[in-house]
């Protein structure tokens, strides 16, 4: 099938752009998973809210490059603000309670958010176009390729590096890492763990929403969009290792290539492939590719 190297090249590009699209969506999930140890069912709902907010902003600003930028940032800001209220007002009461309660909480959140979205924006489908300067295709020498897909290929690493820089090179990042390693110790040292937790939840939610806005030009904005994407995001975070940014990045690459190449060679059976991969990786490395084999290991 790949007698033609140009087609192979395009399929590799397709894999990469899908991988980066998925990574952008999964980044926030990894962050919350890693630090708060919360399986955030509501991640998909946050992602959906982001796309809808961007849609509304674009309606006001009109279809322009600046409008798109405002849409993405606005989605992150608004979702972040809502997440702050939810975290401070409700979720924070559950930190010292049974761990699984937080799961129940995010499940309830999904129901509420999805219905509110339906009330505000209705049940129809909408579409957000790529910003004007990213429409159409660009010639890569071997073949033309959609500009927006290339843009996602660039955005993925940028977001990854930005989070990495924040985590590894800033004071806040150090506190976050400490929170991940040992909450009690952090508390004893006097750092306000509450603030750290708020910050992580807000950042994770904002990332999800920006992911929704960024993914919108390659998808539809509709009430089912969250459920389609949440499983992929979970697979990435799980195979990459809980809370490992690098793991999620690699996990996204694996899933991206598996989805694209799998759909060529395995055809429809690719549906099983991602779960087989997940099982195999977890059997060999239960804590994920880049996760730390911490005290919860066997």
């Amino acid at each position: 099938m790949f007698a033609n190297p140009m087609i192979l090249f395009i399929q590799v590009m397709n894999s990469l752009s899908l991988a980066m699209n998925l990574f952008i969506i999964a980044a926030g999930l990894t962050l919350i998973f890693g630090v708060l140890r919360i399986v955030n069912f509501a991640h998909g709902a946050f992602y959906m809210v982001g796309a809808y907010v961007a849609l509304s902003i674009l309606r006001v600003t009109g279809d322009s490059n600046l409008g798109f930028l405002l849409g993405v940032l606005g989605a992150g800001a608004l979702m972040g603000a809502m997440a702050f209220v939810v975290e401070r007002g409700l979720l924070s009461r559950l930190y010292d309670k049974e761990h699984m309660l937080q799961l129940l909480f995010t499940f309830a959140l999904v129901l509420v958010i999805k219905d509110l979205v339906k009330m505000i924006w209705g049940s129809g489908q909408y579409s957000i176009g790529a910003p004007p300067f990213l429409r159409g295709a660009v010639n890569l020498g071997i073949s033309p390729y959609p500009k927006y897909a290339l843009f996602l290929c660039v955005m993925g690493p940028i977001i990854a590096v930005a989070i990495w820089f924040f985590m590894e090179r800033t004071r806040w990042g150090r506190i976050l890492r400490a929170a991940r390693e040992d909450r009690v110790m952090l508390n004893a040292l006097g750092t306000d763990v509450k603030l750290v937790y708020s910050g992580v939840f807000v950042t994770g939610a904002a990332l999800a929403a920006m992911g929704g806005a960024l993914a919108a030009p390659r998808s539809a904005v509709d009430p089912g969009m969250d459920s389609l994407v949440i499983i992929d995001a979970f697979i990435i975070v799980i195979i990459g290792g809980l809370g490992s940014l690098l793991g999620s990045f690699v996990g996204a690459l694996i899933l991206g290539f598996l989805t694209v190449m799998g759909s060529i060679y395995l055809k429809e059976w690719v549906i099983v492939a991602s779960y087989v991969m997940m099982v195999v990786i977890l059997l060999v490395r239960p804590w994920g590719l880049f996760g730390k084999a911490d005290e919860e290991r066997h």
Binding site: G129, A137, A220, M225
Partner: protein, 387 residues
């Protein structure tokens, strides 16, 4: 409808309305169970069908109801889950005593509910499911009626359109599920000398189509036939457009993507030249009855540019009321018998339910999307109402 005829039916309606009031007090309303997807990704279908049901019920009730009794709709959310849709149906039967059902919307949920209809002996009109299986072989029974054209019918009609497009070879693409397989099989059975250059399916709920798009581009076909629906169709279009897929190939899409809602969602992003089908389009100007219906629907929904789904619910109610009227009773076995071979006037002309197959000969529109002067939203041109 002529003026005299209209006056006559008005007078008749008034008369029955007067008579009805007394009867109503004794019998109460006729309950109609309506089971549709009202949440999640399928909600736009459910809300559309429900709008048509609601409009028809309003019209029927304003005209004095059926057998002097008004219709009362009991709506349930099927959530696109057969276990939920069957549970809802049984709840309506056992708790509310409902004997007449419209819905569910999709093939999987319709198949499941039809089994309950058979067992409980209640009338079940399926407004939108296209699967052959619903009324074929062992699944066919006296109480299930399928209004939407099935995939076999679609196959014949599609090949006609393909010939008109000058198609010589096809590539197939779409979700890996029953509708796709059935429709493609029907096209293959009818396409004669048109050749097939490949089939590229993706799993249900896939969100990325770039691999398939690349395969389609490099395939040796002049026309692409696809089945992604709703939001997934929008995603396909947005991913395929920058690749230039719609410039290098002719495209015909199933899943009723000729729906105005799809065009409205995509706006200027909808590729010109796309062939599609729809159960209804608001801008069709063929029949007076259609104009009257669209006017009523526009008033009901508060917008002129309505979607295609309402007509399916509208016709379902009209069939049900006509059958109850003809049977002279709401007793389900009699109503089901009355539906056999019943012909009614619909906004799109006469439609008959075949007494053998329990399928209606509903027409559908086929056309080619082209951008409109002075509007962002494309419309189908070369519009034909295929019967």
């Amino acid at each position: 409808m002529t003026y005299r005829k209209a006056m006559k039916s008005c007078a008749l309606a008034l008369g029955t309305a007067v008579l009805a009031t007394a009867a109503m007090a004794q019998d109460g309303p006729i309950k109609v169970g309506v089971i549709l997807p009202m949440s999640g990704g399928g909600a736009y279908v459910g809300e559309g069908i429900y709008a048509g049901v609601d409009l028809a019920v309003k019209q029927v009730n304003e005209a004095g109801g059926v057998l002097g009794r008004p219709l009362q709709v009991l709506l349930r959310d099927e959530q696109l889950r057969p276990d939920v849709s069957t549970a809802a149906m049984r709840e309506l039967i056992t708790l509310e005593g409902v004997q007449h059902f419209i819905g569910p919307a999709t093939s999987a949920t319709s198949l499941a509910n039809s089994q309950i209809a058979r067992e409980e002996k209640v009338v079940n009109i399926s407004p939108s499911a296209k699967t052959e299986a619903l009324t074929a072989g062992d699944n066919l029974h006296d109480y299930i009626f399928q209004l939407a054209p099935t995939t076999d019918v679609d196959g014949v009609r599609t090949v006609e359109v393909l010939r008109g497009m000058g198609t010589e070879s096809i590539c197939f693409t779409g979700f890996d599920y029953a509708y796709t397989h059935d429709w493609f099989a029907a096209i293959r059975a009818n396409m004669g000398d048109i050749t097939e250059a490949g089939e590229f399916l993706v799993p249900m709920n896939a969100t990325d189509f770039s691999a398939t798009i690349t395969q389609l581009l490099s395939s040796d076909c002049d026309t692409i036939v696809g089945t992604q629906y709703g939001g997934s169709f929008i995603a396909f279009v947005k991913q395929a457009t920058p690749f230039g897929l719609f410039e290098s190939k002719k495209v015909l899409w199933g899943s009723n993507t000729g729906d105005h809602a799809v065009a409205a969602a995509l706006g200027a992003e909808l590729p010109g030249g796309l062939w599609a089908s729809a159960a209804d389009v608001w801008y069709y100007e063929g029949e007076d009855s259609h104009a009257a219906y669209q006017q009523a629907l526009a008033a009901h929904q508060g917008r002129k540019e309505t979607d295609m789904w309402p007509i399916t619910g509208y016709n379902a109610v009209k069939f049900l009321t006509a059958a109850i009227e003809a049977a002279g009773t709401t007793e389900p076995t009699a109503v089901a018998a009355a539906l056999d071979g019943l012909t009614i006037q619909t906004p799109l002309g006469e439609i008959t339910i075949d007494p053998e197959t329990n399928r209606a000969n509903s027409p559908e529109f086929y056309g080619r999307f082209e951008p409109q002067e002075g509007s962002d939203v494309a419309r189908m041109t070369d519009l034909r109402l295929v019967r």
